[in-house]
Each structure stands twice: as C-alpha cells, then as structure tokens.
Symmetry: C2
Subunit: 384 residues, 2 copies
C-alpha cells in the first residue's frame, strides 16, 4: 500500500452564494488544481461528495458536469453520497485508489447549495437522511434526534447544561478568525441559553446553520508529492464505517459506535493515540454532538467532554484544540462539502498557515458523521 499525500486544496467561503452548485464545485476544483500546479491532463479520476443537489437544485450527474466544466476528460467520475458524510466518503475512496495503485492523481470535491430554498422544502430534503420507513414516519427531525441525544446525555451523566452550550460560544470565538466561516460575530453563553428553543433542550445557537459551499483537494502518492508541492500533507490513516439507522436502533443513544469503530481503526493504522493528535475538526452539527464526538473519539472519558470544553481544554490554546475553524456550528454545514472542509482546515493547520493557528500542529484528525450515526469517516493527517 502506497502512502498518500494532499498536494492541492481549494475552497469557497461557506455562507450565502449567488453561484449555483455546479459553479461552486467547479471553482473549488479549479482552485485546488491551480494550487497544486498540476495540469488537467494529470488527473486520473474525480469523486464528488454531495447530499441534496437532486432535491434542492434538481441537479444530479454533478461529477460529470464538473469534470467537463473544468476540462477533465475521459476519466472515471462519480458522486458519492452518505448524507452529511458524503465527502468524507469521497476522500476515503480516493485515498484508497491511490494507496492501492489504481490511480496516481485524484481530485475530490464536496459541495452543497442550501440557501434560498423555502423552509419546508429544505426541511424535507434534510429529512432524507433519516429512514422514511421508520423514524421518518414519526416526524423526527435531526434537531429532534439530537434533542433526544442531549436529553439522554444529561440523564446519564452529571453534566452542567450550560457547559454543553459553551461549545457553541467557543466555536463562534474561533470563527471570528476564519474568513471562510458563515457566522463570525462572538456570542455569549447567555445568547445561547436565551436563543429560540429548537428541540428541547437545544436552542438555536446549539444548532449548526446551513450554508452554500464547496471544497476540493488533490491527492497523489507521497513519493510523487515533492515534485508537485513543497508543503504536502500526509494522509496517515482513513476509516469509513457504518452504524445504526435511527434512534430506535441504539442501546445507548449517547454513543455512536460508527465513530468509535472508525476512531479505533485510524489510531491503529496511523499508530497514534488520541494524545498524539494536536488539532481536530469534528462533526459538531449540534453543541452536544461535539461533546459526544469528543468522547467517542476518546479525547475525554464518557460524560466529561462538556466540562472539559467549558474549562478551555478544547480551545485553540487548549490541551486538544477542537474546531478552530469554527466548526459546523459557526463555519456552517454545507452538507456534502463539510467532510472536505474539515480536511482543508486541518491542512492549513499542519502547514502552519491557518488564520486561527494551533501552535506547532503536527498531527490532525477529522471526523465526519452522516445520518443518525449511520455513516462515519475519520482521517488522520500529518505534516511531512
């Protein structure tokens, strides 16, 4: 198996864009290719992570349209979909293709266009990531699912409710430094606790905002990377797992086995422990999700994630900085783009050129979760 490196990256900001979905993805791919300096003809495959382009934009076949628009010819192209983990999947697959020698250069892009859609249509589209034959029938939304998750978490563990929401305050503080983030104005814990109730006990600022956005990276074999760029990022490990398809399938609603399994696999493959990770971008679709994820990834014992966040352990200058980009909570969550957005942010951290830089970051981790913990990808990246 060959080592794999990231040798190019490009992104749009995450927020409200006039561009349509094809143009967003095309821009990210063009920027990633330009940053690598590679010719179009060097690219041997393109994978595109996307969730809702069909439902929200009436556009499928996006991988082929983007390839044609950007000038990539006669190569395998596909869209990968796994709800919120759609581009994490594309990244894992592309890394495998290079590692196993199928291809030498692969471009991966994630994209979503979510703003400007009527609320009912938007809610209906997001509901497509729940099982319409089971929980979907009950009207359970994702805020509702994470409301249940949060209630159960508070029931199981001795946790200060406000400590959970301090995650949202921390991530907004981080986003102030990140020009790619959708919401950058600082908020206080009172702002969160006094914001509109969404799904008890979650408030508005406990929930990530939608966004338009696209992010792309260029992957190649590590032994080819130095001829392409002076600052490649090594892909030390990736994992892609599946889990339960709804709340009713969980014995313990406060733990996502898909995350725990993926984490075990990457720690083993990269031969690291959680203590070796310097910076993390994880799937904080809700403030409580960041708390649970930080425990499932084994940065904290079960039930201790919220207090650790409140104590500053996950701040940019903390013991284990989590979501220095602002995370989904402040950067925004363009569903199909998010997994690669996390990869992009960690690359910037490991190259030492992030706007909200973690000091001396050598090893980073990304965590992308789809549905009710139904699909998960985790990656470990390292500085060369």
């Amino acid at each position: 198996m060959r080592d794999v490196a990231i040798v190019g990256r490009g992104t749009t900001t995450y927020g409200v864009h006039d561009d349509g979905i094809k143009d967003l993805a095309t821009k990210a791919v063009a920027r990633a290719l330009d940053s690598s300096g590679l010719e179009r003809s060097a690219v041997e495959a393109l994978s595109l992570g996307n969730f809702a382009a069909g439902m929200l934009e009436g556009q499928e076949l996006l991988a082929a349209l983007v390839a044609d628009a950007v000038g990539l010819e006669d190569i395998p192209v596909m869209k990968t979909e796994g709800a919120c983990a759609s581009s994490g999947i594309a990244f894992h697959q592309a890394r495998q293709q290079i590692a196993m020698g199928v291809h030498d250069v692969v471009v991966v892009v994630g994209v979503e266009k979510m703003t400007g859609v009527p609320t009912a249509e938007f809610t209906q589209a997001l509901a497509a990531a729940a099982d319409g034959t089971t929980e979907g029938q009950t009207g359970l939304t994702f805020p509702g699912f994470y409301g249940l998750f949060t209630s159960r978490y508070l029931h199981e563990y001795s946790v200060d409710r406000e400590d959970i929401s301090k995650v949202a305050v921390k991530n907004r503080r981080n986003a102030a430094e990140n020009p790619r983030a959708r919401f950058r104005e600082p908020i206080t814990i009172d702002d969160v606790m006094e914001s509109e109730p969404i799904a008890d006990p979650l408030r508005l600022y406990d929930c990530c905002p939608a966004a338009d956005g696209a992010t792309a990276v260029v992957l190649t074999a590590s032994d080819m990377a130095p001829s392409v760029t002076s600052d490649p990022i090594e892909v030390l490990a990736t994992a892609h797992t599946s889990g339960r398809s709804g709340a009713y399938r969980y014995d313990d609603l406060t733990t996502f086995e898909a995350t725990r399994t993926a984490a075990s696999r990457v720690y083993s493959e990269a031969d690291v422990t959680p203590a070796d990770i310097d910076v993390v971008e994880l799937h904080d679709c809700f403030s409580s999700a960041e708390v649970g994820d930080s425990e499932d990834l084994r940065f904290f014992p079960k039930g201790e994630g919220a207090a650790a966040a409140a104590a500053g352990d996950t701040a940019v200058d903390g013991e284990i900085p989590i979501n220095p980009s602002g995370g989904l909570l402040s950067k925004g969550h363009p569903v199909g783009a998010t997994g690669l957005g996390q990869i992009y942010e960690i690359c910037r951290q490991l190259n030492g050129d992030h706007e909200n830089q973690v000091a001396d970051a050598q090893t980073g981790l990304t965590h992308n979760l789809g549905g009710s913990g139904a699909v998960c990808t985790v990656s470990v990246l390292g500085r060369k």
Copy 2:
C-alpha cells in the same frame, strides 16, 4: 491485481412494485447473499447505485439503511451516482476494491423506484441528469436529446428509418421469454411506427419505459470463488469513463466517445475483440441508442447497426445477440438498477440458465451509459 468473480446474484422483477425503495434494495441484497451462501459477517463493504431516490422518494443515505436492514455491520457503505450509469459505477468500484486487495467480499446493489409519481415530478427528476445551467435551460428532455441524435444519425447515414425501430420489435420479442421484464407482449414494426410521437422521429415504442426494481451481486476474489459457488462468473475487465455533458459539446452527435473509450479499455484489458463477445446487454434507452451503441462498441461499422439489427444479426440466434433480456426498451429502465440488471442477465447467460439463452455463451459484455453520454461503464464477463 487479483482476478475477481461474481459469486452471488439476486434481483426483483422490473415493473410496478408496492415495495418502497429500501425494501426493493434490501430484497435484492438478501437474495444475492442467500444465493452465494455467504454469511452476513463475510461482507466487507456495500455500494449502492441509485439516481433519483432523493427526488422521487425523499430518501437518501440508502446504502446505510439497506446495510442496517439486511444485517451488515460496521462496514464502509456508500451510494454512487452517475445518472443512468449509477450502478455500473458501483460495480466498477467494487471490482477495483477486490482486485487491489482492499476487500475480499463486496456486495453491490442498484435500485430505483419510479412508478406512482406524478408525471411532472417524474420528468423534473429525469431532467436532473442534464446540465441545468446549459441545455436544461432550453427544456431539452432525454427523449428530445435522443430525437436530435436520431435525426442526425438519419442525416449522416443512409439508413431505413424503420430498421431503427425494428430494434424495439426484437427486444420485445426477447422480453416475452424473460419473467423479469416489464413489457412482454410482442409488438410489430407497424405498432412502433403508429405509436404516439414522443420526440421526432422517435415514437412511444422507441422509448424505454420506467420501472421499479433492484438487482444485487456479490463479488469476491476469483481464488476464493470455488469455495463459495460451483458456478462463478469471472469479471474479465471493467472500465469507467466520462464524456460530454450535453448535445452542444459534441462535434459528432452520433458517437459517444465515453462508450468508445470504455470499449477500447475493456477489449484491451480482457484481451478480446468485439468478435469474441457472445452476448451483449447494452444501454438501449431508445431504439436508436441501441443502434449507435452497437457501433460505438465496434460490433458494426458506423451507419450499419440498424440494417444489421433488421437483418437479425442481433437476435438471440444471430451473429452477436444484443439485449436477449429485452433490454431497457422492454425489461424497463429503473435508472439506478439498470447497470447491475445487465450484469445479472449476462451472468445467467454465461451460466447457461437464462430463459432466452444464447447458445454456448462464453463471454458477455454489458454497457451502461449516463446522461448525454456523460458517464459510461463497460464490463466483460466470462464463464469460468
């Protein structure tokens, strides 16, 4: 690179089903696994080809839902999408994963649920396979695109218009023998020529019908296959290519370069010529598409495919039998299932147990085309 074999297969009929899309896919996967005799725990990955579940059924994340429903745990699952080539892509990717040693056993399923949807919604969903920023704006539908294709073909080559439609008559005759086909009543050339005009010069019976359906296969390394089944089918070659994203991007609208490139690659990889192929299932979404495809795949010189079909060369007892299943034209075209449906039919042919058997079929070819020739997969399968 390891040789790869198909060791299990399962399908629903193609037609009108009461089952929802998750249940259709789950049944096909369960049948494929049961036919292989493999335990659920042996499966290392699941890929699901689908085009329109989000738009037509409001359901995404299908790969995870099907895996959970069928009892597959903690494995990588993903949906692949490339319009009408969605499950051809899934098959190509899965074959690569086994060939390169990433996995030993992979299940691939293709599925679509299309009936019972209001016509406007249905037409809008299919339009998602065209570029909404270019030709989609003109209102060009896929029958319209193939109407242009057919008109240009008739302009370029000296062809009897009725010879093109004789493909539809031949495929309906084949479907009479196939219990999986949606439409099995014989039709005459007069029936076709007198049927409702759809997109000049195409008539109703020149166009494939929609259908609900799902098909799955189980892949493993060839050296493991004999321990699983007594009648494995060898995957001799697969290719996955991209082409132009709309009619305006073609210099020659009567030739799909994506098909020509994919065909060249599989003939080379399998070390065969078109003359070595005994049976073909190709993407006859329209009668004229079968004619063009049969030329792009190099079974006939350009401009001679229609006359050859009319002369019986592509009949089940002809020189190169094409679509003995009835093809998309009669079996139906459940978009995301079609690529694997073709694989299923060829497996039955090579095992010698097809209801419309081609005598002594040793080597078969499948051809799956998405969008305006924007994505193509071609496979060559062989009897062990």
